[in-house]
């Protein structure tokens, strides 16, 4: 099977309960056109396999140092340093590591093995009204594979959802939508300038796609990451609610509280975390924002 018939998957998470209805398996695909500064899945941004280093698991057996063909690894103070300019993410070191401290994130998987993994929780989907959610990364970054996967899931009577950032050509997104039962559509910031500053891209296409999506009559939930100093203002949330009110397929908005769970992953990738020191919102602050959005006539949920 050629690579084109495989998808690059960063993780498969079973018993996910915050990414759509019921008990779900979430498939995280790797590759995203956005670079949101608060992203808690930085390992899913780049469309290639990447080496992660978990210092707490490292017992300093130094197998990796011996095997690295490029000399990209050095040791200092009992811990491994990766020279990212040399490392080509070949994964030889992760194979040799007895403790799993070095790990390649991103595996090219064929449709059948991936489907087999998804089907493992079939009885739980059936009784809980759950199914599969393709997240990421951006599902539409691997459109052909994801469309095939969703189609196969539907053929197996598995409810399908995608979580998308919306920054994708409409033709590409609409192809995937043919096999999608529920869309979790991310809206971050309504102001185009700020959107570009925070995520690296303007939101025009995202807004436009949301409008086209609304014509498709596919149930859609708007999801908003609530990040203090970035998206968590009354003004922004009201703008999102006003916009969402024009989309007739949207009845529900989820506010996803910012958390700092991605922070450690940045270190594992040797990347800079720009939001250091930002504290998550308090429960009461979140509730105030939720009431504000509710006042526009939506069912609002804090968290997924």
């Amino acid at each position: 099977m050629s690579r084109a018939e495989k998808g690059l998957i960063s993780e498969i998470q079973r018993y996910s309960i915050h990414d759509g209805p019921g008990i779900r398996t979430v498939v995280f695909v790797k590759g995203c056109p956005l670079r949101c500064q608060w992203c808690h899945n930085p390992e899913s941004q780049r469309p290639v396999p990447e080496l992660l280093y978990y210092p707490t698991k490292c017992s300093n057996f130094r197998k990796c140092l011996e095997i690295c063909p490029l000399g990209a690894l050095t040791e200092a103070g009992g811990k491994i340093q990766i020279d990212r300019s040399l490392c080509n993410n070949c994964g030889d070191c992760s194979q040799a590591c007895p403790t799993g401290a070095l790990k390649i994130v991103g595996e090219w998987m064929g449709l059948d093995p991936l489907l087999a993994k998804i089907k493992k929780d079939l009885p739980f989907y059936q009784t809980s009204g759950g199914g599969v959610t393709i997240s990421g990364g951006e599902p539409a970054s691997q459109p052909e594979f994801v469309a095939q996967l969703l189609r196969e899931c539907q053929r197996n009577a598995i409810h399908t959802a995608i979580e998308t950032c919306g920054y994708v050509k409409w033709e590409v997104l609409s192809h995937i939508l043919n096999y999608t039962n529920l869309v979790l559509y991310d809206l971050k910031v309504m102001d185009p300038e700020k959107h570009k500053a925070f995520t690296g891209v303007s939101n025009e296409l995202i807004v436009h796609n949301a409008q086209r999506l609304a014509q498709q009559r596919i149930p859609t939930i708007i999801r908003v990451p609530v990040v203090p100093g970035y998206t968590a203002s009354n003004e922004n949330l009201e703008a999102i609610a006003r916009f969402a009110a024009t989309l007739n397929s949207v009845e529900e908005i989820h506010l996803l509280p910012y958390h700092r769970l991605g922070e450690a992953k940045y270190q594992k990738l040797d990347r800079e975390y720009k939001l250091e020191g930002i504290a998550p919102l308090r429960e009461e602050e979140l509730e105030t924002l939720a009431h504000l959005v509710e006042s526009y006539g939506f069912r609002v949920q804090i968290g997924g």
């Binding site: 309960i17 915050h18 008990i23 979430v26 017992s59 007895p98 009784t127 809980s128 958390h259 949920q301």
Partner: protein, 649 residues
């Protein structure tokens, strides 16, 4: 190689069915028994002599029990006389009235029914210095009394709740003296194995009726409330029976209580358990009326023979197979010479393991057979037999075969998963991938992995049961199937042995006597608990763990307990609780799972993990709707989770 339960006290480990005594009182039991005595005729019934002895004893015991209750009445009257507080005086007078009336006479009220049940429990404990009596389906047999009292205006729901709460508290009063230290070699397993000094008394609620309807009633909910009210008192044990028609509201309410009140109730699947009981010759009606006793043992009305539990260590035969029958810790030959393991294929190894296992089970069967005979000859249980259906009719006490159903003995296999994971690691690393030679592995086991850290890591990272990974699961299943088959081979005076997987905390005690195992477990460390994955080895979330467990043929056993540790946040929001309820519902009603014990992780554990990450490499926490390894999270996130854990329950 094994531990057995009877040295901990008397027989017990059965359900006391108070129904008949509630209905007719001991006075009625005496009258029935006298009638039988009057009618029996040795000319027509060669058993008459033995029956006569039993029936006479029943009358004597009944008189003693009535006198026992009357002493309570007398004491209450005496205290009432001296009492100046009007309310307390009235309570004491009421106690006196109730104890004067029951168990001699039929219970007329909810209060009297509770008192009868309590006396039954207390007196059975006096009859035999035993553990683990269950009182059966309390919400079922108490309900008619509760309903009538309410309808006739004798009782309010609040008063009924208070009586239930008090009844529940009573079970925390009874204790027994256990040996501080046992003879050499036993290592005081009473202290380690039954940590916390439980009496294992047990109540069951929910489930189906004889005609397969949902049995839930007001008392089912009120008993959950009683559990909540008396928390943190630990006893009695409580099981909720789950079936396809279990109301969602009940399951969700129960899960809230479990999360808040130290893991109780635990959960039992009607479908799988009834199937297992039917395959063992229990009638459909009795199987549908099953209840739990002990920690998580299932029994049907009139079933006797579960009292003598042996706890064979299934990891030990693998140790012996890998060392030609010699105990790796002591150097003593305790097993069979099965050959040099360095010459083995994987199948040779499994065959050697089976031979060692069979030998161990044969030895423990000999012990069972002798003990059963001695008990029958020396320790008949007359009073207890009043509460076991068919004994009175047959004229035999339980030890002499009076019960409706007789089972040989429970064989509670321990360390089956440790053995299975060990075999999976050997198959993968030694035979499939050939990354390690058998000699290297044996050397590492001898050294308890000291200086063999790299190999140790490879073993720890080999496939493990609990992740819905067929590689490990299929080997674990093979170990379990082999154990179940071998255990049932031996006849005992009361029938064949019945396999099960439940281990109290004896997995710790037996682990102490077990050398390092190829799954990466160090010498003397605990074995896995019942049929649960080795602590921390289930890394793929709860659905994967339940799928792994469902691959084991649970109906081949009479109990297969699974301990799940969950972060309390998994049920802290109603919509998440609902999904968790659905998860359990599926395990029981679709996958035929039999028993789940839930442990919602404590803050203390998480704090300790933060201080000593090396001790918790695989501690999985629910971060939000997903899992993460706790020690890999950054400090602030860890703090956050700890904080949340404090508040969520």
């Amino acid at each position: 190689m094994w531990l057995e339960g009877v040295d901990m006290g008397g027989q017990g480990r059965m359900i006391l069915y108070p129904h008949r005594v509630l209905e007719v009182g001991l006075k009625g039991i005496k009258a029935e028994t006298q009638k039988r005595l009057d009618e029996v005729n040795i000319a027509h019934d060669p058993e008459a002599y033995r029956k006569t002895l039993f029936w006479r004893a029943v009358i004597m015991y009944s008189d003693a029990a009535i006198a026992f209750a009357h002493r309570y009445a007398e004491k209450a009257r005496e205290l009432a006389k001296r009492e100046s507080d009007v309310q307390r005086k009235a309570d004491l007078e009421r106690i006196a009235e109730v104890c004067q009336w029951v168990p001699e006479n039929p219970a007329r009220t909810f209060h009297e029914a509770l008192q009868t049940a309590w006396f039954a429990f207390l007196l059975a404990g006096l009859d035999d210095d035993a553990d683990a009596f269950g009182l059966g389906r309390v919400d079922q047999f108490l309900y008619p009394y509760y309903k009538r009292d309410l309808e006739e205006g004798r009782l309010t729901q609040e008063e009924a709740q208070e009586l239930l709460d008090l009844f529940w508290i009573k079970f925390n009063e009874a204790h027994k003296a256990r040996p501080e230290s046992l003879p050499p070699g036993k290592d005081s397993h009473g202290k380690i194995g039954k940590a916390g000094d439980p009496l294992f008394n047990h109540m069951t609620i929910g489930g189906i009726t004889a005609d397969r309807q949902d049995a839930t009633n007001d008392l089912t909910y009120m008993i959950l409330a009683a559990r909540e009210h008396i928390f943190p008192l630990p006893y009695p044990n409580l099981s909720l029976r789950v079936h396809p028609q279990t109301p969602k509201r009940l399951l969700m309410r129960a899960l809230q209580v479990t999360a808040k009140c130290g893991g109780l109730p635990q959960y039992c699947g009607d479908s799988g358990i009834i199937k297992s009981l039917l395959s063992r010759g229990i009638s459909l009606e009795d199987a549908r009326d099953y209840t739990a006793h002990g920690c998580s043992i299932f029994s049907a009305p009139g079933l006797y023979g579960r009292w003598h539990v042996t706890f064979p260590n299934i990891t030990k035969p693998l140790e012996l197979a890998l060392n030609n029958g010699v105990d790796r810790l002591t150097g003593a030959r305790i097993g069979l010479p099965t050959g040099d393991p360095t010459t083995f294929s994987f199948e040779d190894l499994f065959h050697a393991f089976t031979k060692q296992l069979d030998y161990m089970l044969e030895l423990s069967s000999q012990e069972v057979a002798v003990t059963q005979k001695v008990m029958e000859e020396k320790f008949p249980l007359v009073f207890t037999s009043i509460f076991v259906p068919d004994c009175l009719e047959k004229g035999r006490d339980i030890t002499a075969g009076g019960a409706r159903y007789e089972w040989g003995n429970a064989m509670a296999g321990m360390g089956a998963i440790t053995a299975g994971d060990s075999l999976a690691a050997i198959k993968k690393l030694v035979f499939d991938e050939k990354r390690v030679t058998m000699s290297e592995l044996l050397e590492a086991l001898d050294a308890d992995f000291q200086g063999k850290e790299e190999l140790h890591q490879l073993l720890l990272n080999a496939p493990k049961y609990g992740n819905d990974d067929d590689y490990a699961d299929s080997i674990v299943k093979r170990v379990c199937d082999t154990f179940c088959r071998e255990a049932q081979k031996y006849p005992t005076p009361k029938g064949k042995m019945e396999p099960e997987f439940h281990s109290v905390t004896l997995s710790v005690a037996l682990g102490f006597h077990t050398a390092a195992s190829p799954d990466g477990r160090r010498a003397c460390k605990p074995l896995n608990h019942d049929m649960s994955p080795t602590a921390g080895c289930d890394r793929s979330g709860p659905s994967a763990m339940l799928k792994s467990a469902s691959k084991i043929d649970q109906s081949a056993t009479v109990t297969s307990s699974l301990l799940m540790t969950a972060d309390p946040s998994i049920v802290s929001r109603e919509r998440d609780l609902e999904k968790f309820a659905s998860l359990l519902w599926t395990y029981f009603n679709v996958l035929d799972g039999t028993n789940v014990q839930l442990n919602f992780l404590s803050t203390e554990t998480l704090r300790d993990a933060q201080l000593h990450p090396e001790k918790y490499p695989n501690l999985v926490v629910r971060v939000a709707g997903f899992n993460a390894l706790f020690v890999e999270l950054s400090k602030p996130v860890q703090d956050y989770i700890i904080e949340r854990t404090c508040h969520s329950v």
